[in-house]
Symmetry: C2
Amino acid sequence: MKTYNQPSPDQWATLLERPLMDVSDLENRVSTILQKVQQEGDRALRDFTARFDGVQLEGIAVSPEEFAASEALVSQALKQAIQTAHTNIDQFHRQQQLQTEVIETMPGVKCWQKSVGIEKVGLYIPGGTAPLFSSVLMLAVPAKIAGCQEIVLCTPPAKDGSVHPAILYTASLVGVSKVYKVGGAQAIAAMAYGTETVPQVYKIFGPGNQYVTAAKQLVNKSGLPIDMPAGPSEVLIVADNSANPDFVAADLLSQAEHGIDSQVVLVAFEEAMVRRTLDAVDRQLVDLPRQEIARKALENSPAVILESEEAALQLVNQYAPEHLILSMDRALEFAGHITNAGSVFIGHYTPESVGDYASGTNHTLPTNGFARSYSGVNLDAYVKKITFQQLSAAGLQKLGPVVEQMAQAEQLEAHKNAVSIRLKALKEID
Amino acid sequence: MKTYNQPSPDQWATLLERPLMDVSDLENRVSTILQKVQQEGDRALRDFTARFDGVQLEGIAVSPEEFAASEALVSQALKQAIQTAHTNIDQFHRQQQLQTEVIETMPGVKCWQKSVGIEKVGLYIPGGTAPLFSSVLMLAVPAKIAGCQEIVLCTPPAKDGSVHPAILYTASLVGVSKVYKVGGAQAIAAMAYGTETVPQVYKIFGPGNQYVTAAKQLVNKSGLPIDMPAGPSEVLIVADNSANPDFVAADLLSQAEHGIDSQVVLVAFEEAMVRRTLDAVDRQLVDLPRQEIARKALENSPAVILESEEAALQLVNQYAPEHLILSMDRALEFAGHITNAGSVFIGHYTPESVGDYASGTNHTLPTNGFARSYSGVNLDAYVKKITFQQLSAAGLQKLGPVVEQMAQAEQLEAHKNAVSIRLKALKEID
């Protein structure tokens, strides 16, 4: 990490610059994949899976037998851990449900909002060496609570055509039965357009590589909503003098191991804290299986020494970190002033990894400064809020003249007339 | 309108087909405008305004004097109407505020969500002959309630360089002081990138023509959020035998007068109801200033006769109308089963125009079937919901082993270590 001692605020933007993630050069290739899936359906999925995942699929859908077999392949300890995480995530997201409340804005004018689950949603879970069953929890639990009728999950198969049992176990636990062995841009296409096997959905969620990102961007441009724009994962840690350098180092590394483009920012108030933390990083790094990745991520990451908590607050809100860890004695108070962040981890015993897995909050969060305008995935992401209004005759008699006045001023005579014709009829009844 | 008597469900999609709104052919032209504004700032805004709006601007920003002058130019009656609408809209959106509630998912594991207004938002209000001050209310009121710090409003000037006083009066009333005389794609560019005069924003809202739509799509593709994808406005009316054909006709016309591509759908259960409604349409049409527009919109619009309310419900949820008017005796009950719609107008005395202006609900709603997955504009659209978590030492001792188990299974050793190192330290204290 490169250390910056009390840089002036006008230097912050430069030293906190994020790596560019531009997938526009992939657009043509990905667009071809999308088109082929749209035209050829399952056949295209099989072709791309053979080409990119190196396996000739028998069935694209995971069979009931495969689901059943997964149960025995996951250790009891892991099952229990997943169950606990499930309970916490379920509890936190269930509390986000909208209670419909009728507002009478004027006598006889009732208005309300009702939350209705998006009927069909698609979840993408990346493949690779590690099975990201935690993302299954984070994406499927709120979908279930929202009442989404059809939940489709796509994930690339391993070379032997299997899906990792921990993924299948978790999907089963949450109640997702439609799991398909398809990855990459072709998976996004399958869910966007539907194929003979994979159902079409109305919104797509989930992380992925640059092909998945480009595919999500392209289908989004045609009006299909996605969870949020993607970027490399990141953490910013504010460590005051009460912080434990070993803890802070471990937190920095837990972000750095994600990928070589991970962003890791340390903000402290004393040079000694930075030095002791970086020493601890060096000590811990050597034991990590993913140390090469972490090392590269750290090379491009800054440690910033600031003179005050006010300055730190300003820097944090300007950077808008995906994850914000507050290793501070007065962390809760500091947290109260945060305006731009995805998820905030308060105090010395709240590492980011608790939120990544099991505290209850969602780990699908806005990166790349998108926290200025986007929320992380929450229950809202899976519902539409429909508005309703019901006027009594008396309500229309009261509100009608207001509408007539405004419609006339906007020169929309038929809008006015829809009120006038009713008011006239009511007058005749009187 | 063309009448379809009991079409089978597999014909519905075809007869309800919406006009395509493809702006991709404009991309190059709009992209050039965006680039020029990004590079040249105010100078480009002045050039484009001269070219497209036919006026050489003195100042781009509306001056305090112009605001003050607008006050006297709006009639007392219109001011009062706007104030009443303001009160209702404010009341309905204020009720949507999130109350932060701390959830203890496990002993010592506290999680909560906090709603924070997006710091800077941009509102676009189209120009033209009629001043759309109602859109100022609909877009600015929730921005104020959300606590957005900077609200920027762009609207094209008239040929004399003025902005309609009703727009300025409404902006003032709501508390929006940064109004800029710039329209079209150049306005979207100004708010997306910022110029010497127009501040850069983090999200853009508002209706507009095809250039505005294309510009919003392009900036959205680069990660700047927008309210929702655009499409022609539409209404679907379900009229049972209790409906008043004159009322229904007036409602159809109030949608049809919007534009020649407006979508207007009538669903009834008796041929007589359709016939009487269409007769009423013909009678009312002749008195409308915008009758030519309405006539063209109606030409492409279907009236559908169905055999049951169940079938109607199915058709409505499949079509996902922006506006849904239920001119039915049991409208409230029917409304309870709606899963896809923007806003629903219940009963014989609730014309769409009350929601367009003043009932309290928002009139910025998802068109083109987007109601399947998008909400209309509401308070959520102006905030991020940030999550927080705080674990006590005891909380981490309880939850930590769960996280260790899961992180290990995902092969993220540093994630595990961020917990282990703390648990070890706690053990040493004990």
